[in-house]
Symmetry: C2
Subunit: 188 residues, 2 copies
Amino acid sequence: VIEKSAEPAVPVSPRVARTHAAVLAVAQQLLLERGPSDLTFSALSQRSGVTRQTLYRHWPTREALFADLVLTGPETDYPEPGGDVRLVTIAFLTSLRDGLAYPPRAAAILALAAAADRDLDSAAALKAIIDNRRTALNALLARTGRVIDEDEFAGLCGPILYRRLFSRAAVTDELIERTTNIWITPSR
Amino acid sequence: VIEKSAEPAVPVSPRVARTHAAVLAVAQQLLLERGPSDLTFSALSQRSGVTRQTLYRHWPTREALFADLVLTGPETDYPEPGGDVRLVTIAFLTSLRDGLAYPPRAAAILALAAAADRDLDSAAALKAIIDNRRTALNALLARTGRVIDEDEFAGLCGPILYRRLFSRAAVTDELIERTTNIWITPSR
């Protein structure tokens, strides 16, 4: 079953899109310089020169902003859909690894995770991000008929997040391939 | 290869041990109530009535305090050493799952992770915690001759941390058993 997930608000005009992108860049900068607790709407307004009222039109909550910071960032090689489950999964995890190398993205996901035990909105934002990513992988795999379930997705992404965010050793191609080979067995 | 890892400082007298435990309990409370950025030595001194000078004797750095908060907490059923790699691993991961259910422990590990991109001491504290845990698992497995390498440890623990801290669905016994069965194949 592929779950539908909340998409980030789609900017409606080039001007709005430019503002959106410019403010996100400022937010990424603030997050890196001063950490998540100082990334407030008022700090963001001051630094970007965009009014708080406008900021709230883009991100109704601080969690929506952080979620956008997780899902937005430098483009990494996004995988093509394909017919080989293993190869598509390896490409997906490689793209996840490369995306998480960007420090503001890692900082944003950790900030949501840190808040989630106390704050339902942060927990919901995290869940939406993860559903979004699992839906994305299953869309890439659509033609194979294979659907990655939640446990398999935890098995595939967990080691990558663990290595990047906690043990902080290199997320090697070998780890990605070994994890994929172990979870994605040839169908019988 | 089993790596040696830094052990937390061992309290030397019952009085010192009592102070250590009492201050940690206050720190856990502060962490839950106010989040990691407000858990400073001065807040901790004020709330616990222990001088900052004494606090620094217990924890020379804030990272040492956070590391202690990760490794300290309610006792969970710690696994016995055993001769069956699968069963020992399942017991170890179950104990990890039960330990992470304790919110201050999850908050402390996320706080270290959030700081680690910018702060070498936090990164080192995280690495020490993880080496400590992998050494612990390998000690439980000593009689089997099986040594869990870093990739396998990432494969085993990653999905548990991912499920607890990011996707926030239940870390089920089924996930633990499936992950173990997939990584721990019968030796040939």
